[in-house]
């Protein structure tokens, strides 16, 4: 067993885990933060995207031990004081989801995109979402939502 400590959504946590525990298992099973989903479990679909030290990563392809000492943000950590993050609000407003399974990863990935590129083109958004797969309905409204969020976040 191994003790891992990290800051998750602003809270310091410390747990004993098996070394083979994935970050996504740590979040879901040890911290009960089930907003982060496991889709393909092969680092392709992006349902498990979270931020580690401010950068979007696939938490199914990282050990919890590798995140020891890191700052992690999950979908549960985006809303502040009961107010949806502008990206969440934009997904809601523009129907950027159907079943919602891919949505936490989409939102976390999109928030990271805007950190790199606050004013992306549709093409840049679509390229960035290469690692996020939606199987319901396509990407049109997701792109629209991200454009709207980018606009509102630029102010």
């Amino acid at each position: 067993m191994l003790t891992v400590s990290m800051t998750v959504n602003g809270k310091q946590v410390s747990k004993e885990v098996e070394p083979r525990t994935l970050l996504v298992q740590f979040l879901r099973e040890h911290l009960s933060l089930t907003g982060t989903h496991v889709g393909c479990d092969t680092s392709q679909c992006g349902a498990c995207v979270v931020h580690v030290d401010g950068t979007s990563v696939k938490s199914c392809t990282m050990l919890a031990a590798q995140a020891d000492g890191a700052t992690v943000t999950t979908i549960e950590g985006l809303a502040q004081d009961g107010e949806l993050h502008p990206m969440q609000a934009a997904f809601k407003e523009h129907h950027g989801l159907q079943c919602g399974f891919c949505t936490p990863g989409m939102v976390m990935s999109a928030v990271d995109l805007l950190k790199h590129n606050p004013d992306p083109s549709d093409r840049e958004i679509r390229e960035w979402l290469q690692g996020n797969i939606c199987r319901c309905t396509g990407y049109h409204n997701i792109v629209k939502a991200i454009q709207a969020a980018a606009q509102s976040m630029r102010g």
Binding site: P19, M62, D68
Partner: protein, 264 residues
């Protein structure tokens, strides 16, 4: 995943010692090949030695007419680096098109070349730009580094420290990507370097190799005309569900011409 003992050493010496002392130790870099392999229970290492705690292994610098990329530098850092973009834009472009954004945030150059996947992008740059791979024991010429399918010149307990890419006069990289995985079915790096013209092919064979006929043609005449009608034979090339050897052979010519156009 089978269980293992996890280590995160803070120095190269400590890492090498842990690796030598482990029953069946494996180095963990970005983990984007190793962790999926472990999840499928295709390997059962006794120990994982995570290199992320060794600060000197991460980062990009410029020294003596070369761009030096630390082994633990993720692809995204290479793609976004102002030094790489200014000095070897073909390398920044190559890195920017590996996998997807999140994979580029974790996957590292050291991990990629040590794994030596026949369809990885970086081998085309290591061979095509005439890079030098620095390890904890020695320096290995890029052209001698890849030995075959998932096989490199690295000894059992040898670790990649950095890869030094001499700044070329001109270079371009083009790949025909698998639309799902983004791995190159064929990728070609064409470069005009101080040591001559180099054309390196990845994805097509067991490991990255040089296309000497194209190098000779471009040495004599650096222009699209020189390789317009040049073809590579299918002998020894990979054949799988994605592409036949004949199709890969065809793509080598097409990608070389595109890479040349990109190099200018």
């Amino acid at each position: 995943m089978y269980d293992f003992t996890y280590h995160r050493p803070s120095s190269l010496e400590e890492a090498a010692k842990l690796l030598a002392g482990a029953e069946d130790g494996k180095i963990l870099a970005g983990g984007h090949t190793l962790l999926p392999t472990l999840k499928q229970r295709l390997a059962q290492p006794s120990d994982l030695i995570d290199l992320s705690g060794i600060k000197e292994l991460k980062g990009i610098s410029e020294a003596g007419g070369a761009v030096v990329v630390g082994a633990m530098t993720p692809h995204g850092d290479v793609a976004d680096s102002s030094v790489v973009k200014a000095r070897i834009p073909a390398l920044a472009h190559l890195a920017s098109d590996i996998g997807d954004a999140q994979v580029r945030h974790r996957g590292t150059i050291g991990g990629s070349i040590a794994n030596a996947d026949p369809a990885a992008d970086y081998p085309a740059a290591v061979v095509g730009l005439g890079a030098t791979v620095k390890t904890n024991k020695r320096e290995i010429a890029g052209g001698d580094f890849f030995k075959g399918l998932f096989e490199t010149a690295l000894d059992e307990n040898e670790l990649v420290v950095s890869v030094s890419f001499p700044v070329p006069e001109k270079a371009g990289y083009a790949k025909f990507a698998n639309p799902a995985s983004r791995y190159p079915i064929v990728g070609v790096m064409v470069a005009k370097t101080a040591g001559g013209v180099r054309v390196a092919v990845t994805g097509a064979g067991a490991s990255a190799f040089r296309w000497t006929e194209a190098e000779q043609a471009l040495s004599a005449n650096w222009s699209a005309d020189a390789i317009k009608n040049l073809t590579h034979g299918p002998d020894g090339l990979n054949s799988d569900i994605h592409a036949s050897a004949e199709y890969r052979a065809h793509l080598i010519g097409v990608m070389a011409r595109r890479a040349l156009a990109a190099a200018g």
